[in-house]
Amino acid sequence: MFGEKALELIRELHRSRDTSLPPFNEDGIRQVLEEMRALFEQNQKDVSATVAGEVGLFSGVQLRHAALERNKRCLLAYLYSRLQSMRNMRWEFGSVLPQEIKYNLSEQEIQWFNKYNKSLANYMRSIGGDGGLDLTQDIKPPKTLYIEVRCLVDHGEFETQDGNVIVLKKNSQHFILRSECEHLIRQGILEHIVH
């Protein structure tokens, strides 16, 4: 059936929407493009035949054209959906992607990510006019000034705004300014303790 492979690509993404991005399915894409080429060539033959006088080929041409449009749509949806996941990862993890995720991206996707990063960084730098504003911080409304955090991994020394130096040893608990440790919480180094 036409469009099967394209649907498989979509299913692959749908299945993995709660886990991390699956590897870029280069093979699948290639197969869809090949199917499109075959459909197009068959259509060209039928169109020439019709011009030459044959009848009854029109429905076939229509069907193949519909399949071509469907394949195109599925392919673009697959690519777009992956880009959206990557975009969300930039906002969650920061500008450097973890190695496991990068491993699953294609060369062009990594290029897209770098360009997106650059564009975003330029924009954030231009806000206000004094070095800019990091929009990936302050994601949640601030409830308290200081928060209690537990350290999940050894992270060495950490200097606070006041000049105090805290040693972030695994399982140690600290009372730090929320604005200073937000990024460490997102990276998974600290854990916010909620009572």
Partner: protein, 221 residues
């Protein structure tokens, strides 16, 4: 704020400074909520953002000079955190809309007359263009380029995502406004016109009240 005669600008700039920081923050919060609940990208309130960023800088200076352990320092720090959150959220909401409706927004800006103020800052405009280019380049490079010749372009009618201006929103009325055309006359229904009284709260479609949001006569909640 460029390109307008100095005399007119002077008047409004003085007005801006005559507002207290508290009033500016309130206006910013209003702009933030409007942006959050409106389906379309509204006009950027750059002066409010810049003013509050300056406020933050001033407050940080004050903190540096204050005695250590002074209670006021904590209060100032919390205020700074809150203000920074509102500004970040406001700009983030706008970026999200720009990324969702890139082609549509760029089209609207292209068609805007020279007298109207643009809804995007120049930097947002650059960001939008770069984002669209990046996206289209990616599609072309991986997929479109390898497709049959008649399918290699993207038909805007099929691909452009436009904001749904008919979505319902909650609003509160700031200024008495009479004769708002809510439903146009069709074959099945008469036209529906309402009068909005200050202090009222309503739920209705966004489209008819869009100009009232821009003018400040109503605020979205």
């Amino acid at each position: 704020m460029a390109g307008v005669s100095e005399d007119i600008e002077e008047g409004s700039e003085e007005e801006m400074e005559a507002m207290t920081a508290g009033e500016v923050l309130q206006k910013l919060e209003e702009a933030w909520l409007n942006e959050k609940f409106s389906p379309e990208l509204l006009e950027i309130k750059s002066d409010l953002v810049e003013c509050m960023l300056d406020q933050i800088k001033e407050m940080e200076e004050n903190i540096k000079r204050a005695k250590k352990g002074d209670f006021k320092v904590s209060l100032h720090r919390m205020e700074i955190d809150r203000i920074r959150f509102v500004i970040s959220s406001y700009l983030r909401l706008r970026l999200e809309k720009i990324e969702q409706n890139t082609a549509h927004i760029l089209e609207v800006e292209r068609q805007r007359s020279d007298e109207e103020t643009p809804h995007l800052t120049p930097e947002e405009h650059t960001y939008a263009k770069e984002y669209l280019e990046n996206m289209e380049g990616h599609f072309k490079g991986i997929a479109l380029r390898h497709m049959p010749p008649n399918l290699q372009t993207l038909d805007p009618k099929q691909t452009v995502i436009r904001p749904n201006l008919d979505s319902y929103i909650f609003l509160k009325v700031n200024e008495n406004t009479e004769g708002v055309l809510v439903e146009e006359e069709t074959q099945e229904a008469r036209e529906e016109v309402v009068d909005l009284e200050a202090g009222d709260q309503h739920i209705m479609r966004y489209r008819p009240v869009a100009p009232l949001v821009s003018s400040g006569a109503v605020s979205l909640i």
